[in-house]
């Protein structure tokens, strides 16, 4: 009778000691790999930041931040005792970025409103969604070429000014604005909309007064991150906005230097020429001054970008939409 009930040898299924050890080893190896991956990623970050700070801090002072490059000759000091500065590049960066914000924020925001509130996921909406994705992949230099081609064809050949740069940058900014705004509008609870409609509020008012207002902090932080993304762009501005050494306040006429282009130009010029007498003068002529200026401007650029990132995150955190309650 007993042999009709075969006894199961559970020991057969018991993992062998070596198998357990192998599993443990694998687990341990992967743990090491994953931690190593993080450490590896830190190396370039620390190196870039350290290089920029240590090489840039020498030249970063008030004089550097309050003068432009007009009248700066070679490595010689200027009458003010400095060696030229970046006020024109900072102003240029702010104006060009402002220009691209004015173009891309309303457009991107309204596009997101269309996608979330009006489209009902139709064919057009799907096409736009796809194209926004495609647009987010436009290489920055192609954006620069486009802006150059557009203004050369429509306005006239040789059109290079800050606004051309703004158009190039807005092409890079719009997809980010659309995407973040879309996400933010989507997480606004539907109850709010329905409550508003039930009270007889029009759709436009519901959207502007309730939906957008609720989503505002998220949108603002998304926009700030989008700005941080484009403010460091170099290649398109090299083509579209040009380079000058004086301050230009007119976005629509004349070339305009921006910070990244300034960094690149200073690096590109290499050593400054100093005559023997100028080397002995006080303050002395500095052959390495251009690299110092390039690193100092790079440091300012990094600080601006990091500050924008920080502000964006703070806005997102402090005013986050509470979707749960």
């Amino acid at each position: 009778m007993s042999d009709s009930h075969p006894t199961i040898d559970f020991d057969k299924f018991k993992p062998t000691r070596s198998y357990i050890a192998a599993r443990k080893r694998k687990d341990w190896t992967m743990r090491v790999f994953i931690i190593a991956a993080f450490v590896i990623a830190l190396i370039p970050l620390v190196s870039v930041l350290w290089t920029t700070i240590s090489s840039g801090v020498a030249r970063l002072n008030l004089n550097f931040l309050s003068y432009n490059m007009s009248g700066v000759v070679g490595g010689n000091a200027t009458p003010s005792g400095g060696y030229g500065g970046i006020v024109h590049a900072i102003i240029g960066t702010l104006l060009v970025t402002l220009g691209s914000m004015i173009i891309s924020i309303p457009l991107g925001l309204m596009c997101a409103v269309y996608l979330v509130e009006y489209s009902h996921n139709g064919g057009l909406a799907r096409a736009i969604g796809l194209l926004v994705d495609v647009m987010s992949g436009i290489p920055s230099i192609v954006a620069g070429l486009f802006a150059y081609a557009l203004f050369n064809t429509l306005v006239g050949p040789g059109t290079v000014n800050g606004f051309v740069g703004s158009v190039a940058l807005s092409l890079l900014m719009i997809p980010t604005v659309v995407k973040t705004s879309e996400e933010m509008l989507k997480i606004v609870p539907n109850d709010l909309r329905e409550a508003a409609y039930a009270l007889g509020v029009t759709k436009q008012r519901t959207i502007t007064k309730i939906v957008l207002r609720t989503a505002l902090p998220g949108i603002v932080s998304g926009v700030i991150l989008a700005i941080a993304r484009v403010i460091g762009e170099t290649a398109p501005l090299l083509i579209a906005a040009g380079f000058i050494s004086t301050t230009n306040l007119n976005l629509f006429s004349g070339r305009m230097t921006t910070l990244p282009v300034y960094v690149y130009q200073e690096y590109s010029q290499g050593l400054a020429t100093c005559s023997a007498t100028a080397l002995q003068a006080t303050p002395p002529c500095l052959p390495q001054i251009r690299m110092e200026r390039a690193w100092a401007a790079a440091l300012v650029l990094i600080i601006i970008v990091l500050l924008l990132n920080l502000i964006g995150r703070l806005v997102a955190k402090l005013f986050a939409v509470k979707t749960e309650n």
Partner: protein, 376 residues
């Protein structure tokens, strides 16, 4: 409500006022500007004048702008070092007053200029002469430094830059440098990776002196895949500095502490210097294909045997119109170019950009063209 709007508009106006104040505030004004302006005998000019073109001239133009501001403090001049090609294209659209270019205009470009000049066609004049140094890094062999020169002739340079000579202790190099201790080190050639007038001038020197050893065409882009390419003069200098055994070519002002080659001229070896570069320009004929009016184009005689001349030079031109549609631009172009080629202007460039001052005879030639600019 109304009060609020008032406050806002006041705030906006004062904001704009502050911005306007900022614009001027950044300028580094020269201390001597006002005093010398009154002594100037020429007509005073004011307004904004833009130029664009060769990046090789950038350091010199910055110095010229600063020097010119002493004479004409109300003239606001800007120069975009966007490159020779872009500079000439921009000039031919009429949006800049003058262009800087490492190459003389093509005859197509000259005839195109009819549409931007009030009368006649644009002309080019040399304004900036810079020796091109052949720089190398042999630090451990003790051959770096401003006073150290390896002797090389055109054929050896051609073979090195074509990858035919691959070691520093190759017999061809050793033969010309009996005193130097050449290391057993591979040669790494460093050339420009971007389109550049420096490359064109350097390659045409090689082509003229060693045609048989150089199978490539003369152009602004480097023709072979030997060694390494680097972006711009600073890229070449950075790369040469980064490793031993490298050799490259760059504007002489950038050579720094690297070793430089002395080039064979006649029976001697001549290291680069401003005087030696000016000498070869003087000894060279005018380009007889540039027949249009007022043009002064120099065809460098790379095979010169003139003693003490250094034949590897970059001659950079300024391009301007003989008459402008706006009279103000004509007046500016004339005064600007007159200043640039004046003894003072050339000295300024030499001090701050390491260029070779143009000789008196060349300046006299060029002034004939500049004086032809109509100011009325």
């Amino acid at each position: 409500m109304r009060n609020n709007a008032l406050i806002r508009s006041v705030a906006a106006i004062s904001g704009f006022a502050m911005l306007a104040a900022l614009a001027a505030c950044g300028d580094n004004t020269s201390a001597t500007s006002s005093s010398s302006a009154s002594t100037s005998a020429t007509a005073s000019i004011s307004g904004e004048f833009a130029g664009a073109g060769a990046s090789s001239q950038q350091s010199a133009v910055e110095a010229w702008i600063a020097g010119f501001a002493d004479k004409q403090p109300d003239a606001k001049i800007s120069y975009d070092p966007s490159g020779s090609g872009a500079g000439v294209s921009t000039f031919l659209t009429g949006s800049t007053v003058w262009a800087g270019s490492d190459a003389a205009m093509t005859s197509d470009q000259v005839s195109q200029s009819k549409s931007v000049c009030a009368t006649g066609t644009a002309f080019d004049v040399p304004v900036y002469i810079s020796p091109i140094a052949i720089v190398y890094n042999l630090k451990s062999a003790g051959l770096n430094g401003t006073s150290k020169h390896l002797n090389l002739d055109g054929e050896t340079i051609a073979k090195i830059f074509d990858g035919k000579i691959t070691k520093w202790n190759d017999s061809a190099i050793a033969k010309m440098n009996p005193d130097a201790k050449l290391p057993d080190l591979a040669i790494t050639v460093v050339h420009r990776s971007d389109k550049s007038g420096t490359t064109k001038n350097f390659v045409s020197y090689i082509k003229d002196t060693a045609d048989a050893a150089w199978p490539y065409e003369v152009g602004e882009n480097w023709p072979n895949n030997v060694g390494q390419g680097a972006k711009g003069t600073s890229g070449v200098i950075t790369t040469v500095n980064q490793a031993e055994g490298t050799i490259g070519y760059a504007d002489a002002s950038q050579a720094g502490s690297l070793g430089t080659a002395a080039v064979k001229v006649g029976d001697d070896y001549v290291p680069y210097s401003a005087d030696a570069a000016a000498k070869v320009v003087d000894a060279s004929p005018k380009d007889d294909t540039a027949t249009q009016k007022n043009r002064v184009v120099i065809k460098i005689d790379h095979n010169t045997t003139e003693s003490g001349a250094y034949p590897v030079v970059l001659v950079s031109y300024d391009i301007a119109c003989p008459a402008y549609k706006t009279a103000k631009n004509g007046e500016f172009a004339k005064q600007w170019l007159t200043y640039v080629v004046s003894e003072e202007g050339q000295k300024t460039a030499a001090d701050s950009a390491g260029s070779a001052p143009m000789s008196a005879s060349l300046r006299a030639d060029v002034m004939k063209s500049i004086n032809a600019i109509k100011t009325k």
